[in-house]
Amino acid sequence: MNRKKFEETKPEAEEGNTLAESIAMDQHDSTHGHPALQHHFENMEQQREAGTIGIWVFLVTEIMFFGGMFFAYTLYRSQYPMEFASASNHLDLTMGTINTAVLILSSFTMALGVYSAQVGKQRNLVISLALTIFLGLVFLGIKAVEYHEKYVDHLIPGRLFPGNPFDPSGIHPLPGANPQKMEMFYWIYFAMTGMHAIHMIIGVGLLSVIMYFAARGRYGPEYHSPVEVSGLYWHFVDIIWIFLFPLLYLLGRHFQH
């Protein structure tokens, strides 16, 4: 390129071609690649790299998103330790533990799915995705049961249900705990688990779409980055729960006895 001439870059052998033809040629060129290659990428390698960096950047924003709530949690936990411990002890540890196991299992099936896509085992891929979605739904179901229990116990904070105001009298208060401040725990509990549940719902929806395409044979060894990307998202949502579970359910248990 002659650096002194700032004219437009001209492709070779362009004489007589209209622009539309050259664009068409360009698109024709790209069909040499995989059919899933989008027009603006040069090759599959670039496309896959973009997807991978993209999901990691997205997960960073998610960490910051939950980070604000974790910060608030840390602040108030240190400010009202006994209140948080009393309220936390009232959560259903069994259901929480089952849910944790369910999610860990779902992460495993998800990883199996990604592996199956990589090695091109389409049947296994669909089965793994179906299992993952099923486990995700189990988690959400158990969560719904827990929420309902809280509703029955009058532990929904604030005036969301005007007929059912927050009433901490059902909680066994540890020494030094001010029942009025337990509302704060439940507020944070619902904010954090609720936000997590919304992410689970989005994840289930995402995996359903992936499963639909997987069943139609869209993914194989050359092209499976949507599976990988959704897998990373799913693992991330699981990891958030791995933090939420001890912070909300376990911390302060030793005060119980």
């Binding site: 390129m1 650096r3 870059t9 604000g68 009025q180």
Partner: protein
């Protein structure tokens, strides 16, 4: 002196991104980053003039000390809406989402952003957020100030805080998605030969902006969501009645909203780097310093939020640390200003409209930045915090900085965007009017602020009237100056002279393709063999006179043709 040698007559492209497809649907479903950039351009212009109407109402009201034009409730809503519209729906998206969207792929030689569908989605998200906010405004408005400080925002009775909060929350995601797209695009889609240190500085500053967008925006999103939720439930983590802490909100809010200032100004700095280098036909002085100062600003920007809270009851020592860091973040900005000025040295400086805006930017940004030091200084901030001094300061940064850069960039790339030239005479005239009007509006506010006039006052003691009258007079000039470009730019889309592919004779990639560009930007994937702003071969480089002892002695001493 070397001269640009040849200019090939532009081969007028029959098909470009504007006429490749027709119809509303082809625009609303487009995945072309250029068209999405134009969608953003139209939307932010709308929000800008909406915010401008509110600004005019504020200035009208403040003409007299009594507060007789608007009721106090209306006035409070008006300044709140002005802030929300201008910050969340104009300043934050203005440059990155319109010009950035249009130019980031073109400047790095890519066909599009990495995720075109996400790009379109971000525009829809932005529009939905904007519509919800406008709904809140029509339904009754918000009177909390754009900062939404609780407990006022969670208890104030006559206010659509929830709807507005949801609107801002949603529009925040558009900013996150734009940032994500930029980062991935710059990492993966640079043309062959476009190394990191050949990137135009516009790209560096957008990369830094994108970092802030993805790291900061989610924090304010969750904060505002929690605030809205708190208002619904009437209890929560910011409410002192339930044991919450209203100052926690301020921390979380400013953790984003201070870096958000850099979301607003960094892209503007990128534009100015382009304008200064290109309109003086010089390589930028200290490319790597300018590039890294963008990143330094992005990083330091996250550490200084506490300087908004010197009088809010945070600890003295926290105040000192934040004050110190605030001074530290001023240095990269100062380096940029000095390097821009040094770039002009021995250049070939044109007086085209974009350059006038760039020169105005440097002057106003210097004042804005220097007055920022007053606010970082603990003892002085105690006095001027929440007065008109602060109002003047941030308008110098955001209007004198971001808006001027935006207008400069818009004129600069207008031939590429629209394929038409704007009328140069009108352009220069409006740049002058904007500059004069702006200074007349905001210089008096510094004085009023130090005299002690608090901000957000609907009525004020009569001794401040003279400054407010000056300010209102300036605002009307400024408003007039901003209407002129709106009119002639729209006019030029149809009647302007057709633009050449490279009307300014510049080396950047975006100028090496027809105006307006084809849908995939380039006729063939470009291969980059030159440095950024390489007007002349690097072997002719001169070493600055005062320091010429280091190297290239004989080269620097050689007489230069055409030197006066």
């Amino acid at each position: 002196m070397r001269a640009i040698e040849t200019f090939q007559a532009p081969a007028p492209a029959k098909l470009n991104y504007l006429n490749a497809e027709y119809g509303i649907k082809s625009w609303l479903l487009t995945k072309d980053h250029k068209r999405i950039g134009l969608l953003y351009l139209g939307s932010v212009t709308f929000f800008f003039f909406l915010g401008g109407v509110y600004a005019m109402l504020i200035r009208l009201e403040l003409l007299t000390p009594q507060g007789d034009l608007l009721s106090s409730t209306t006035y409070n809503k008006v300044f709140t809406q002005h802030g929300i519209m201008m910050i969340f729906f104009f300043l934050i998206p203005a440059i990155p989402a319109s010009l950035g969207n249009f130019l980031v792929p073109m400047m790095i030689g890519a066909k599009d952003l990495a995720f075109p569908r996400i790009n379109l989605l971000s525009w829809y998200i932005f529009i939905v957020g904007g519509l919800i906010t406008i709904y809140a405004l029509l339904a009754g408005g918000v009177d909390t100030g754009w900062t939404f400080y609780p407990p006022y925002s969670t208890t104030s009775s006559n206010s659509y805080v929830v709807a507005t909060g949801v609107g801002i929350f949603i529009s925040g995601f558009s900013s996150i998605l734009t940032g994500l797209n930029f980062i991935v695009t710059v990492h993966t889609m640079r043309a062959p030969g476009m190394t990191w240190f050949r990137l135009p500085l516009f790209i560096w500053s957008h990369y830094a902006t994108a970092l802030i967008m993805i790291l900061g925006t989610p924090v304010v999103a969750i904060t505002i969501l929690l605030l809205a939720f708190e208002r619904l439930t009437n209890v929560g983590i910011f409410n002192p009645a339930t044991g919450g802490d209203p100052v926690l909100f301020q921390h979380l809010f400013w953790f984003y909203s201070h870096p958000a200032v850099y979301i607003m100004i960094l892209p503007g700095m990128g534009i100015i780097s382009e304008l200064i280098a290109n309109f003086s036909r010089k390589n930028i002085f200290g490319y790597s310093f300018v590039a890294f100062s963008s990143l330094a600003i992005a990083v330091f920007g996250f550490l200084v939020w506490g300087h908004h809270m010197f009088v809010s009851g945070q600890s003295v020592y926290a105040g000192m640390v934040f004050s110190f860091l605030s001074f530290a973040v001023a240095i990269p900005s100062a380096v940029k200003v000095f390097n821009w000025t040094a770039t002009l040295y021995k250049g070939s400086i044109s007086y085209d409209t974009p350059m006038l805006y760039a020169l105005g930017f440097i002057g106003l940004f210097t004042i804005g930045g220097m007055t920022g030091l007053f606010l970082a200084t603990l003892a002085v901030d105690v006095h001027v915090h929440d007065t008109y001094f602060i109002v003047a300061h941030f308008h110098y940064i955001m209007v004198g900085g971001t808006l001027l850069a935006y207008l400069g960039g818009l004129h600069y790339w207008w031939p590429k965007i629209s394929g038409r030239m704007y009328p140069e005479g009108w352009g220069r005239f409006s740049a002058l009017v904007v500059f004069v009007g702006f200074n007349l509006t905001f210089l008096p506010q510094f004085v009023a602020g130090y005299l002690g006039m608090p901000r957000r006052y609907h009525a004020y003691p009569p001794e401040f009237q003279v400054f407010n009258v000056l300010s209102s007079a300036g605002a009307s000039i400024l408003g007039f100056g901003l209407l002129i470009p709106l009119i002639y730019l729209v006019w030029s889309m149809r009647y302007g002279r057709r633009a050449e592919p490279n009307p300014w004779h510049l080396p950047g990639l975006e100028w090496r393709t027809p105006s307006p560009p084809p849908t995939e930007n380039f006729l063939a994937t470009p291969i980059v063999t030159w440095e950024a702003y390489e007007f002349a071969p690097p072997e002719e480089t001169e070493v600055v006179g005062v320091l010429r002892s280091d190297k290239n002695l004989e080269d620097a001493d050689r007489p230069i043709d055409g030197e006066p």
